[in-house]
């Protein structure tokens, strides 16, 4: 029952906001809906934790230990982003950058996006997974082009075409998967596309077909993850869209895409009995880390800077999943959580900072600490966290990944060391003058709602120092699931 509540709330939220989106209290409604979704997610989690994996709607939806923590994470970040977007969008309206009517589109698309995320996470049917990813792309395209500026149009167009083409490849991959599954599971009853069944028989599936299927699926969902050669849409989409959307894109969409890639990897690795999928993941992960680290060096727009940092972290996560093994998978899952929390917190502070300075160029943002200490310290702590400074959780996962890499793939560690060093120099070199130094800008009329920022950073700090036991069991169960017995 909670499962139905979880999926239906955002959908009817989207409908409701489609009608009343322009009202003054629409933002409160948005927060309310996200709150209900979050509560439903928590209830679902406790249910799954107590009574094990749950199959619903005659096996079309399947919630196990792997995707249940992602569901809670998605719901939580959705809630905090909606809290952040309330003051942010009001200031955007006062600045005249977005008309009230567009707010209706914004709110409804936001909730629709949340719905597609939750469906993608919980669905058991690979076809349905594809449909929800496509729907997510469509909803975010409208959100990215909210401001109707030439740049946002261009970003939207590129985002749509690149992801559209990518997703199309994923569809063909799903078809091949269906084709291979049908031979083993038989065409009757439509169980050929259900992940649980596929997982059960993955040993007997035809290796060559699954290999090709994996390539199409990897290129498809890899584009959504933003891995190196397929990443071009990500910086534009993040920089041009409104900041809550960049936070949600970075925090949630990338996680779900990686989730999809890992689901496929589990199937293919079972049948292929070769290390090829892991090696592909590792190479693309490493390529993304290196490319993003060097591209960080040349940035002038703050949101593009953090977009590239997202590509870098997604590269690290893919590399970790590629390495496989219980420790690496555990570290990758932990990294996904702390990355989405930290990156969304950073985008919240960046949003306010950009609003205050009136531009997203880093030269114009100066002396945030003197202007408003909460934003200044939020940005400083956030960037230190994302750069992997220890007290924060990002360091914990990077610690495990780097030490595992040192033993498993020693050739990769000098590359990682250099990339992390260059990324640190680039990001911190830019953030420091923004936070410190004198400023001439005036104070912000509306007090920034920075509760979400410090909530996220507190959780990341807690994860860095003490991972609660039940969360640890979650990760371990999920890591076993991915890594295979």
């Amino acid at each position: 029952m909670t499962f139905l509540l979880l999926l239906s709330t955002p959908v009817c939220g989207a409908l409701l906001l489609g009608v009343f989106g322009a009202r003054r209290w629409a933002a409160h409604l948005n927060v309310g809906v996200s709150l209900i979704t979050f509560i439903a997610a928590c209830a679902l989690t406790t249910q799954v934790v107590n009574s094990g994996p749950l199959l619903a709607a005659h096996e079309q939806f399947f919630v196990d230990s792997f995707n249940v923590f992602l569901v809670t994470l998605t719901a939580f970040v959705g809630l905090t982003t909606s809290i952040f977007s309330r003051p942010y969008m009001r200031v955007e309206m006062t600045h005249g950058r977005v008309a009230p009517t567009r707010l209706r589109l914004y709110h409804s698309m936001y909730q629709l996006f949340m719905a597609t995320m939750l469906v993608a996470l919980t669905t058991n049917n690979m076809g349905l997974l594809w449909v929800s990813m496509e729907a997510a792309t469509l909803s975010t395209v409208l959100l990215v082009t909210l401001y109707r500026t030439p740049a946002s149009l261009e970003a939207g167009w590129k985002y749509f075409i690149l992801c559209g083409v990518g997703i199309a490849q994923a569809l063909f991959g799903t078809i091949l998967l269906y084709f291979a599954a049908e031979k083993v599971l038989g065409a009757a009853g439509g169980t050929a596309l259900l992940w649980t069944h596929l997982n059960a028989v993955k040993g007997h599936l035809e290796p060559t077909v699954l290999g090709l299927a994996f390539v199409f699926l990897f290129v498809g969902y890899g584009t959504k993850v933003g891995l190196a050669p397929l990443h071009n849409w990500l910086p534009d989409a993040h920089a041009e869209g409104p900041t809550p959307i960049s936070a949600v894109l970075s925090g949630l969409l990338l996680n779900v895409a990686i989730y999809a890639v890992v689901r496929c990897k589990v199937l293919v690795e079972g049948s292929l009995h070769s290390q090829l999928p892991s090696q592909i993941l590792m190479c693309f992960g490493l390529l993304s880390v290196v490319l993003a680290a060097f591209l960080l060096w040349r940035q002038r727009d703050i949101k593009r800077l953090f977009a590239y940092s997202s590509i870098e972290h997604m590269g690290i996560i893919t590399f970790a999943f590629g390495m496989g093994g219980p420790v690496a998978n555990f570290a990758a899952l932990l990294h996904m959580t702390v990355h989405s929390l930290t990156k969304s917190a950073i985008f919240f502070t960046v949003g306010h900072a950009a609003q205050k300075a009136g531009s997203q160029l880093m030269e114009d943002i100066r002396g945030l600490i003197t202007l408003s200490p909460t934003i200044g310290w939020g940005l400083m702590m956030g960037s230190l966290a994302i750069l992997g400074m220890p007290p924060f959780g990002v360091f914990a996962s990077e610690f495990l990944i780097l030490t595992t890499a040192m033993r498993e793939q020693p050739w990769a560690t000098p590359v990682l060391l250099a990339a992390l060093g260059v990324a640190f120099a680039a990001i911190f070199g830019r953030v420091q003058p923004m936070v410190f130094g004198e400023t001439t800008a005036k104070r912000l009329p509306h007090p920034p709602a920075l509760l979400p920022v410090f909530a996220h950073l507190a959780i990341v700090l807690m994860l860095g120092l003490y991972v609660p036991p039940y969360l640890a069991d979650w990760y371990r169960a999920a890591a076993r699931l991915i890594g295979g017995e």
Binding site: N125, L153, E154, A168, F172, V209
Partner: protein, 239 residues
């Protein structure tokens, strides 16, 4: 081809025509004819699905044939034609690669696609297993069309022909996907076209032309911008 039953011959004919059509789209420069080619592709797809439904007696194939007819033959081409008339975009400028160049690339792509589909076809139990190669070829050809086109409209047509290729692939490999997925995919394609329509109006309004070279401002300027991170100056002291 002799000895195989009539409907199979027709199916293979449809597949061959589909391949020819995507080649034609690759070389076509007039946007209007491009859309009409897309419509013909829709018709061929409808005929092939109908034939297959008739041959295998699968009920949901009739449903998907009807869906293809409604969507890909009637609604989308009409919508695109209306958009072309409203936005007066009739000609596509010289593509990146001249026509003969694109044809050569297309040929290579087709050969690669057939080589790729060989192992799959060998395993397929469906009658139309040889058509899988053609489906892959159509997908990759439409991919190339999207790369070489400079007009937003022709890129959309390339995208839609890729969808057609996918449908044909699904149909020939596994007699179509389960119904719930078919509906989802069809819904997505419809919404995609609506969104693209909205896009065209906005791009037209901003750039008063649908040419894609306007959409190239967002890039990394490799000119040395002054805000390199402050790892600089030396620790000399001035007295």
């Amino acid at each position: 081809m002799t000895g195989t039953p009539l409907d199979l011959q027709l199916l293979n004919l449809c597949a061959a025509l589909l391949l020819l059509l995507s080649f034609a789209m690759l070389a076509q420069r007039r946007v209007v004819t491009l859309v009409s080619l897309l419509a013909i592709q829709g018709v061929l797809l409808f005929v092939a699905t109908l034939l297959l439904a008739w041959r295998t007696g699968e009920r949901h194939l009739y449903l998907s044939a009807a869906l293809t007819l409604a969507l890909k033959v009637l609604l989308l081409p009409w919508l695109l034609h209306r958009l072309i008339r409203r936005l007066q975009v009739y000609w596509d400028t010289e593509p990146l690669l001249n026509i003969s160049g694109t044809m050569l690339v297309g040929l290579l792509v087709v050969i690669f696609a057939f080589g790729l589909a060989q192992p799959i076809a060998a395993l397929a139990s469906t009658a139309t297993r040889s058509a899988i190669g053609i489906a892959v070829a159509v997908i990759l050809l439409s991919f190339v069309t999207m790369i070489t086109r400079r007009k937003a409209m022709s890129q959309v047509v390339g995208f839609l022909s890729m969808e057609n290729g996918l449908f044909f692939g699904a149909m020939s490999a596994t007699y179509g996907m389960p119904m719930i997925v078919e509906f989802g995919v069809a819904l997505d394609v419809l919404v995609a076209v609506l969104v693209l329509g909205v896009f065209f109006f906005q791009i037209r309004e901003q750039f008063d032309s649908l040419d894609l070279h306007h959409l190239e401002s967002l890039k990394e300027s490799s000119t040395s911008s002054k805000t390199t991170p402050p790892v600089s100056a030396q620790s000399g002291q001035e007295h």
